[in-house]
């Protein structure tokens, strides 16, 4: 070779968004600091607990912690499912409809006060399958017809909510299956089966996310789908998979709501969606995909549930609670991602 090729570039400084972040991780050097940084949401959670605890001593009582965990169980199930979709950089808005549909399906098929059906556990299977089917349909329309997931799932939200209303048998079916309602009633160590179920699901989801191709490729799709396609991966399958998981878990959330209240409700999903997404984002799962994960989202759920609980505990003006919640969401996300700020970072 006659030419000496000399490369004057410092690649760690190349500031494409991804690379910029990786660059600093290396520069900062200590692992301890890195862990602390990704622990931003946990720090916000602890800070919030400290503030509320100092405002009212009741806050950290065992009873209240139980109340927080019980309230977190259903949102956690939703957030776990949502995480699989969000890490791919897509979004699923159909949650409220799907949960409502699963709820009403379950409550008219299990032993109840209105219809004559009694499928027992079969009702749970049917409701879960409905969630799974809607999720898979969402994913299929999104991936194969290349329609934005936001709009596909928005439409599906309306459709499933409408179906739930059409299935509603004009009176709220009271669930008579004692075993099923017992899920929410029987306590072990002060917590209902729902809490344990949520924890177990989180564990399984974590393994799936870290240890399976579905989970790993999901992250890759979120980071750069074009590259994943270039690598010859059948991206669409993984997309459908993620939406199916999300649909199934959202359906499960609707089922669990039925267990908690003991009656079927065609609007059971109301109020699950935006808090679910907010929880994921607060926990550090980026809407643009590729970052975060199940554990992050769980922290986010705890932040939101704790906040709501704390506002009630401290007697904040109920009319202003929404406003306070809004500000806290913004501040929490800003604080926990502050260290990621770069001039060349792109956040949409």
């Amino acid at each position: 070779m006659t030419q000496a090729q000399l490369h004057a570039h410092d690649t760690s400084a190349m500031a494409s968004p991804r690379r910029g972040e990786a660059g600093t991780q290396r520069r900062s050097g200590h692992i301890g600091l890195g862990v602390l940084k990704s622990a931003g949401p946990i720090v916000s959670l602890l800070a919030m607990v400290l503030v509320f605890a100092s405002l009212t001593p009741n806050f950290v009582s065992a009873a209240n912690l139980q109340a927080i965990l019980e309230s977190a169980a259903v949102p956690a199930v939703v957030a776990i499912g949502m995480t699989f979709v969000l890490v791919q950089g897509s979004i699923d808005l159909s949650g409220e409809g799907v949960a409502s549909l699963a709820n009403i399906l379950l409550s008219i098929l299990i032993a109840n006060s209105v219809t004559a059906h009694d499928l027992g556990a079969g009702a749970i299977v049917v409701a879960l399958a409905a969630g799974l089917a809607v999720g898979a349909l969402n994913g299929t329309l999104y991936a194969y017809l290349r329609m934005p997931s936001l709009i596909v799932t928005l439409a599906m939200w309306l459709i499933t909510l409408g179906l739930a209303a059409l299935l509603f048998p004009s009176r709220q079916p009271q669930i008579l299956d004692g075993g099923f309602v017992g899920l929410a009633l029987h306590k072990h160590l002060g917590l209902s089966a729902l809490v344990y179920l949520a924890v177990a699901l989180a564990f399984v989801a974590f393994i799936v996310e870290r240890r399976t191709k579905l989970g790993r490729i999901g992250f890759a799709i979120g980071a750069d789908e074009a590259l994943v396609r270039l690598a010859g991966v059948n991206v669409n399958v993984y997309k459908v998979g993620a939406f199916a998981i999300c649909g199934c878990l959202t359906g499960l959330a609707g089922i669990l709501t039925a267990a908690q209240i003991g009656v079927g409700n065609p609007l059971a999903g109301e109020g699950l969606l935006f808090p679910g997404i907010a929880a994921c984002v607060i926990g550090g799962t980026l809407l643009s995909g590729g970052r975060g994960g199940v554990l992050h989202s769980l922290v986010g759920v705890l932040v939101l549930v704790t906040l709501r609980n704390g506002l009630v505990q401290t007697g904040a003006n109920p009319l202003l609670q929404k406003a306070i919640e809004g500000v806290v969401i913004v501040v929490a996300v800003a604080a926990s991602t502050w260290h990621l700020r770069r001039k060349t970072r792109v956040v949409k």
Binding site: S16, P17, S90, L141, Y142, L145, R146, M147, P148, S149, L150, I151, V152, L154, A155, M156, W157, L158, I159, L161, G162, L163, A164, A165, L166, E225, A226, F274, I277, A278, V281, I282, L286, L287, S288, G289, N317, L319, L320, Q321, K322, A323, I324, E325, G326, V327, I329, V330, V333, A334, T337, W338, L340, R341, K343, T344, R345, V346, V347, K348
Partner: protein
């Protein structure tokens, strides 16, 4: 195509492109045709007139929401802003009279700009920022109105105007058209417009090319907020009562309108005319379902299916590499 036309619409190179570009309009025409078949009475001027009057608040929200979407952002707070500003206007009218309306519009612009600016400063996703302000605005609206409907004082000229008609055409709709023309010109012929599209296509490359993204984002969100506030005024001019949640449910239809017109949520592709068409489609679908006498729940199902079909037909997938 003539060269001049080709220059005006550079992206249209073949018949297929043309069809795709017209997709949303074709869908709108088909939906209208279907509605007319169901209820020929709708063709009467009075009926059209009434529809336009009703549609105006939604249309203005659709137009406003388009700008953040063109950036690849999203403004979830628009509907809450509409309710909030309606409440604030009714509260300010006893004090300021007609001046309350421009005051509130100005305030909305400021708040919107601040919102856009904060997204950049704090580097948080617009989804999160506006989800936060959605909570903030609706909370404040509840608090300020003490959770009640407030009657609008008499003699507020701008609102009387919005509620009235000129030569039989609802002024609210004329206002929508005026805003649409103004913003379309802004997008097409000014530097701001070019920068908005550049930002949407690639924020990083635009930034490295000297585009002032903080400024651009502030402008887009300010416009979105002002349009939302204007929507709130239109609604107020119809109801004459403000309520802290009166427009909250417009959030999703507005988004549907934006996307049904073919504007990509990933940014950089689409425009206001597309949104206007999309918004009208959303309105006509609702009207059609109502007139067809579908039961409420089935209306939702039908609406959902039509959105799916409309978007499946209208999304220009060639321009968006990756659909998210």
């Amino acid at each position: 195509m003539t060269p001049a036309l080709a220059r005006m619409f550079p992206s249209i190179r073949s018949a297929g492109d043309l069809l795709r570009a017209c997709g949303p309009a074709i869908v709108l025409v088909l939906v209208c045709a279907a509605v007319i078949c169901i209820a020929p009475g709708i063709l009467k001027w009075r009926a059209i007139n009434a529809l336009l009057f009703d549609a105006a608040p939604l249309l203005i929200l659709v137009i406003g929401s388009t700008l953040p979407v063109l950036l690849g952002c999203i403004d979830l707070s628009a509907a809450a802003m509409a309710s909030f500003s309606a409440v604030v206007v009714t509260l300010l009218v006893p004090e300021f009279g007609s001046a309350a309306v421009p005051l509130v519009l100005l305030g909305a612009a400021g708040i919107g700009a601040a919102q856009g600016w904060l997204i950049g400063r704090l580097q948080i996703p617009s989804f999160v920022m506006t989800l936060g302000t959605l909570g903030l605005f609706s909370g404040l609206a509840l608090y300020l109105s003490n959770a009640s409907s407030v009657a609008l004082g008499a003699g507020v000229a701008p609102l009387d105007f919005l509620g009235g008609r000129t030569h039989g055409v609802p002024n609210a709709f004329l206002a929508v058209v005026a805003v649409w023309i103004f913003l379309s010109l802004l997008l097409r012929f000014t530097r701001l417009g070019r920068d908005i599209y550049a930002f949407g296509a690639s924020e990083l490359a635009a930034y490295m090319s000297g585009v002032r993204r903080g400024l651009i984002r502030s402008c887009a969100f300010a416009i979105s907020s002002v349009c939302a506030a204007l929507g709130g005024m239109m609604l107020l001019s119809q109801t004459l009562y403000s309520a802290p949640t009166m427009a909250s449910n417009l959030l999703l239809p507005a988004l549907v309108g934006v996307v049904a017109g073919g504007t990509a949520i990933s940014g950089g592709v689409g425009g206001l005319s597309a949104s206007l068409i999309g918004g009208l489609t959303a309105v006509m679908v609702r009207v059609g379902a109502t007139i067809a006498g579908l039961p409420g729940a089935a209306q939702d199902v039908a609406f959902g299916i039509i959105i799916l079909v409309a978007v499946a037909v209208t999304t220009d997938r060639t321009k968006i590499g990756i659909v998210k």
